[in-house]
Amino acid sequence: MAASALNGVVEGTGNEKPSKGVTFDDLYRTSSQYRIWSFTKDELLAKRIETNKRGCQITLAKASKVKNPHTLMFESVDVETLTIEEELLLINFFARKAVGLANMFKMPSQVRGTAISFLKKFYLVNSVMEYHPKNIMLTCLFLAAKVENYFISINTFSKKINNTTPESILKYEYQIIKSLHFTLMVRHPFRSLYGFYLDLQDVMPRVDKNVIGKSYDKARGVVNEAIMSDAIFLFTPPQISLAAWRKADKELIDRYLKKKFLKERKSKIKNGLVSIKEEKEDSASVSDSGSVTVKKEKENENDEKEAEDGDENDSEDEYRKNYQKLLEVIENCENTIIDKNSREPSIDEAKLIGKKVHFCINPAKTFKRKREDADAETPGDNSLSVNSAASKEHSSTAIDLSEATKDTEDEQESKRLKV
């Protein structure tokens, strides 16, 4: 197994048989991101189903014996639990809020990426119905800033965010770290994207560097979208970068991929060089789309040359297979990025779901709601209804002023969100 290639380096001073050497991919396989936070699509879904199920169970258990403040008796209330899709939508909603906050603090992309990664991972392990994302999101951002060496003191942090207190943010830090299984390092597609930007200059020297640069900028925008999606669980950072860039500029990346992974390997076999400059190729492929056919011809030419070198055919096949595989993976990744699971919900949707969450977490509030609904027919009778009527308007998370401190948080939060 690849991981043991590194672990197999056992004793101290070179008196054992040395293993074959290590590849970059082996290095990736030792990371916690690969070991613990990479899944197949099925596994991911299974996890979400399980977490959602548990969330429902807990909610229903809570709802089955709630103390009615009016009758002072325990009774069961009806609470609507969330579906997996609703959970995801709400998480996405708050993930984007986090981006806004990160920009306000002028945080680098690493911090932003790590915060979102923490948020999404947290909700693989816990359900939205157990912890409201608006709180978790803030703590994730704070923690991510610490982890990525962009330390902001809790006081500064909470001051800048309307009426949160240090305690309200810090109290979730522990739970988050635990849910992350104590893995704090995250590798993002940002730096690998930059790496490809450099490699493109090398592999396609005839393409104007400014053209590459502009394309890169576009790709960066797609990467920002990609980190919101499930791609971070299903693919590795280099694959995500390439997929994002291909989405932004299919033509350029297709050329790059062919050149790098098809041609290069052929030459590697021949000369043992790492990269080659195919002058003929380049002259045919500068910027216009008609170049595709021209290149194809050249490819065939080279293919024929290859056919002559007998056993190199096998390794060439292997490389072709690898190239196809890579292309396939990249296309899958592109699809994941635009998958509906990662879309941003509309404000109304978010409000609706947020309301549901509110009741899931605190079923006792349904009593107030019943009262509110009842009182809404006779407006102006008592102060409570006035407040509740007013509160109906601010309702991405429902508020109830007569409840304890938690609610004041909610109210303040919703005010902020409304802005």
Partner: protein, 328 residues
């Protein structure tokens, strides 16, 4: 090597799993206390393996979990190497974090100070080899240790050396990131750090290794400065002062100030100082202690140096001198 337990996959919920994990480890005797953690020795019950438990005090740091704890957790989780201390598990209990590390009773500092133990050149070579291998692994993952010293090079009962204490570690910086220059214990601090550099690289770790190398040969600290200002003087007196000629742009560093000009030591002076060293040894130590960080060797270059290939061959870790425990 035992498989990692609770870190190997997202498992079930809170208290249940914590109990399952924590009950696998026994916390026996306290062996040390630092500013942010208390260290115990214990046993991993499933394997009877001796372990060390670092219990991190939470609540002490007003900004939530302490930065050193975060760094240790973050980097030890990613760096798995025979010459880096192994993080076996983590669990939290009563809002306290417990890091389960492998048990490493001694460190290089203890060995150096114990004058009853004799170091042969092959022994020194062996320790240097293991240190450089561990550091190479850190650097190829773009992680700077930033606190290398004999105290942080721990030794297993089988004689294997392991780099520990990643509380100050961090990833290599991008050009637009500024790092703090207040890192590394003073005696092992590279000159660019002494001059307040904010954009340093892994070369600072190589410098520390060079100073440790010297200390292994001399059996006493090589560059012991009494304070930060003194450290500059001690360093340059031993290795010569930096000038524009031997270190481009040195005067542009924020903390640069004109000090006395000391001449660099001649090869003969070095031979006298390190009397047991061969020419290749001196070549290596000089390349690790170059004033200009760009001229310093990298871990790869150091490992490929002639020093490791020439005779005597590095001692097998099992045969390295060990500290004999006085009594149980």
């Amino acid at each position: 090597m035992t498989e990692v337990v609770s870190l190997s996959g997202p498992e079930q919920h809170d208290d249940e799993s914590t109990l399952k994990v924590s009950s696998n480890y026994s916390k026996d005797t306290k062996v040390g206390e630092g500013t942010y953690a208390v260290v115990y020795v214990g046993v991993q019950k499933s394997s009877h393996r001796k372990i060390a438990i670092k219990e991190i005090k939470t609540g002490g740091f007003k900004d939530g979990l302490d930065m050193s704890a975060i760094r240790e957790m973050k980097y030890l989780q990613e760096l798995r190497h025979v010459n880096i201390i192994e993080l076996i598990d983590i669990y939290s209990e009563h809002n306290g974090l417990n890091l389960i590390l492998e048990y490493l009773p001694y460190d290089l500092e203890m060995l150096i100070k114990d004058k009853s133990i004799i170091f042969t050149p092959a022994n020194i070579k062996s320790w240097m080899l293991m240190t450089l291998r561990g550091l190479h692994h850190c650097h190829r993952n773009f992680i700077l240790h930033r606190d290398l010293k004999p105290n942080n090079l721990l030794l297993s009962p089988q004689g294997v050396l392991k780099i520990a204490d990643f509380g100050l570690a961090r990833s290599l910086g991008a050009p637009n990131e500024e790092l703090t220059s207040n890192v590394v214990t003073r005696w092992y601090r590279a000159p660019e750090l002494l001059f307040g550099s904010k954009h340093y690289t892994g070369a600072i770790d190589i410098w520390s290794v060079g100073v440790i190398f010297a200390e292994l040969m001399l059996r006493t600290p090589y560059l012991p400065g009494a304070n930060d200002m003194d450290q500059l003087i001690v360093t340059f007196r031993a290795l010569g002062s930096p000038t524009e000629a031997n270190w481009t742009n040195v005067s542009k560093l924020p903390g640069y100030n004109k000090i006395n000009i000391y001449p660099p030591p001649t090869r003969q002076e070095l031979r006298n100082r390190f009397s047991a060293a061969t020419e290749s040894t001196l070549d290596l130590i000089c390349s690790m202690l170059m004033l200009d960080p760009l001229k310093r060797c990298t871990t790869t270059e150091a490992l490929l140096s002639k020093y490791f290939v020439e005779s005597p061959r590095a001692t097998d870790p099992k045969s390295l001198p060990k500290i004999v425990p006085k009594n149980k």
